[in-house]
Symmetry: C2
Subunit: 364 residues, 2 copies
DNA sequence: GCGTGTTCGGCAAGCACTTTCCAGGACGGG
DNA sequence: CCCGTCCTGGAAAGTGCTTGCCGAACACGC
């Protein structure tokens, strides 16, 4: 071990004296110490460092020098309390490991990093109670902004609670934005799930497919519902019987996709094309199909939704509906942080484009 | 739009009166209001809510009721200031989109969520200056703990600065832990990069390979160096000439892997086996090789390092060296948060196991 | 019945900052 | 030359919460 202050009984006194007098005392350096060293009042020191009022040159220089020498870092919490405004932004996702959410997170962070704010990240693991709890946490930290992605439930009670919690959040001075279908009385980035799935269905029909199976998420998940609905609409557009599709519901995860695909095969796969309502489920399905000896796209075509980055490494390349996830995150951050606090909630629709790749092929 | 407080001029007075009197005033609910409503002093209200001293029953109940009615949420920042200790934990990674880091983040968050702490996430995008800056930010927020993953440089100057910054962080009362080879005077979770790569090389030799190419990261990246070194050692162990391997340096990313693999092919691929020093590079290489018409593993074997989750969906399944990323994150969090503040820096070594899969095959 | 604890409200002094307000000096115009 | 204005430093009053200390009230043992 190179450095081990825990076992060194005491530092040699003058050892780091010429070293600009780094932190030698216990605890953080306080503004009052900076002020004392510069021979000015606390107020002046504060003003120099926050730059919120001009300070005469002799003082200004001395304060800056003192702060540098002492390696002063302001206490952000105290600043937030005194100013009545913090610089933290909350970000609520379901799971960091899910590429859908990490892409969104990346977009949010990109936006936030440019503004010298800081991100509180919390993952709900799809638990509505945790979601509520975390909104409260963010309020408690007086977050300036809050981005919630994919509160994806149709549960009436939970939605009400969440709206109420968000009102509380707003009352505490924060601005929220949601990435989801159900705008909760706040700004919202709403992906065109239904329209995208509809377009996808049409494309698949044009490839000659007539027998479809859909691997969907839990019934109460709004995004899943919308995608199924849109898909059916697209089938109808092309004169395909929308009621003829098998829809299986499972978890909105890779494991969910795996399991549903297995069930599908076990039940005797009749469809020529499988639509998994999101990409992680599609990946699970792909893996299960492979395991079952069903070839994609030779035996069955497969399509997903979202266009997560992982798809780039998959063989066959998956047909999907592209959502600009990072942009969505950045946009949500923008809505929450840059919009006029008094402005009414805005909804930004996000176009979802079909990307045909190798996993779907024309039926001859 | 269902709810639009921005355009409603004023709420009807008694409208949500029976509603437990939600937040109707401007700004957050203060403790003083709770105390007033309960008819007790500020001190008593504080004590009831923080539970740090017993309070007699008549008061206790009234305070709790008042807090509930008013939907009181304590101001975490003010609490932190008053208590002199915050409940935030900083997490520094390079990039959320990289599965290596998101896995670690997941582990950290799992650990942190159980303790009712909150995570500040910052991504450095591999920029040393940002890294320093964010450590300062965390110090400024008086984070109780800080986890830095993969400060992966051998740059002397930067290391010194970082150590100093971390000392400042510690002086401000925080505890840090690092996931990396260079423990910076703090607790460290150190993956066995060298030993893992060495074992890998041995396995590959045993498969009959003799001609190797290594796709490495930038020369100053410690993890990359160690893995190359270990790999060479493994070759030597098996009587293979360690100097005979081609080592190409590029970026530590997917794009880096793609580019290096292309170069390799362009230069006339002579190796029978390619080792990419991490999995994302291996994925890039796989993609480039495919594009160039080089089959894996038929024309060349390919191995990576880390065992990121994305590998599960790749064909052929990649041989790699497994690192328990989530556990590493959790462990780092534990070191930073649960260890005795006075204890000397501990280093926890993490075993790295070879996982042979389809991308490497025996040379007959 | 009295000393000795123990329990528990409330006052007020923090915590580390910001910002308002005041006052003194400089400056300029009439 | 005087008054109004501008500039700027400092004292002090905030910001929302915690907590040390005091003392009242009550219980207990003898």
């Amino acid at each position: 071990m190179t450095i081990d202050p825990g076992t060194i009984p005491s530092r040699k006194p003058g050892e780091d004296a010429e070293d600009g007098e780094g932190a030698r005392r216990d605890g953080p350096v306080l503004l009052s110490e900076v002020a004392a060293r510069a021979g000015v009042s606390l107020a002046t020191a504060s003003r120099v460092l926050s730059g919120r009022r001009s300070v005469g040159e002799p003082y200004r220089g001395r304060v800056l020098a003192a702060a540098r020498d002492l390696r002063y870092t302001p206490n952000a919490q105290a600043q937030a309390v005194a100013r009545g405004a913090s610089n933290v932004v909350g970000l609520l996702i379901h799971d960091v490991l899910d590429p859908y959410f990490s892409s969104i997170a990346s977009g949010v962070m990109r936006h936030v990093e440019e503004r010298d704010l800081v991100v509180f990240l919390a993952s709900t693991h799809s638990d509505p109670d945790r979601e509520l709890e975390y909104v409260a946490t963010m309020r408690s930290h007086r977050a300036r902004g809050l981005i919630i992605c994919g509160s994806r439930t149709t549960d009436r009670l939970h939605t009400e609670r969440l709206v109420k919690e968000l009102e509380g959040f707003r009352a505490a001075g924060g601005r929220a934005a949601v990435i989801s279908q159900n705008r909760l009385g706040t700004h919202a980035v709403v992906p065109q799930n239904r329209a995208g799935a509809r377009r996808l269905a049409r494309e698949l029909c044009r490839l000659g497919h007539r027998q479809f199976a859909v691997l969907a998420g839990p019934v109460h998940v709004l995004a899943s519902r919308d995608r199924v609905t849109g898909f059916r609409e697209g089938l109808a557009d092309e004169g395909c019987d929308p009621e003829g599709v098998t829809v299986l519901h499972g978890r909105f995860t890779r494991e969910g996709g795996e399991q549903l695909a297995s069930e599908l095969v076990a039940a005797g796969l009749r469809a020529t094309c499988v639509f998994a309502v999101n990409d992680v489920m599609a990946l699970g399905a792909l893996s299960a199909l492979r395991r079952e000896g069903v070839r994609v796209p030779d035996d069955v075509s497969l399509a997903g939704f979202d266009d997560i980055t992982t798809l780039r490494d998959v063989v066959p390349a998956l047909t999907t509906v592209r959502l600009p996830l990072e942009e969505m995150g950045a946009r949500a951050a923008q809505l929450a942080l840059d919009s006029d606090p008094a402005s009414p909630p805005r909804a930004v629709k996000v176009h979802a484009d079909v990307v045909l790749r190798e996993s779907t092929r024309p039926l001859v």
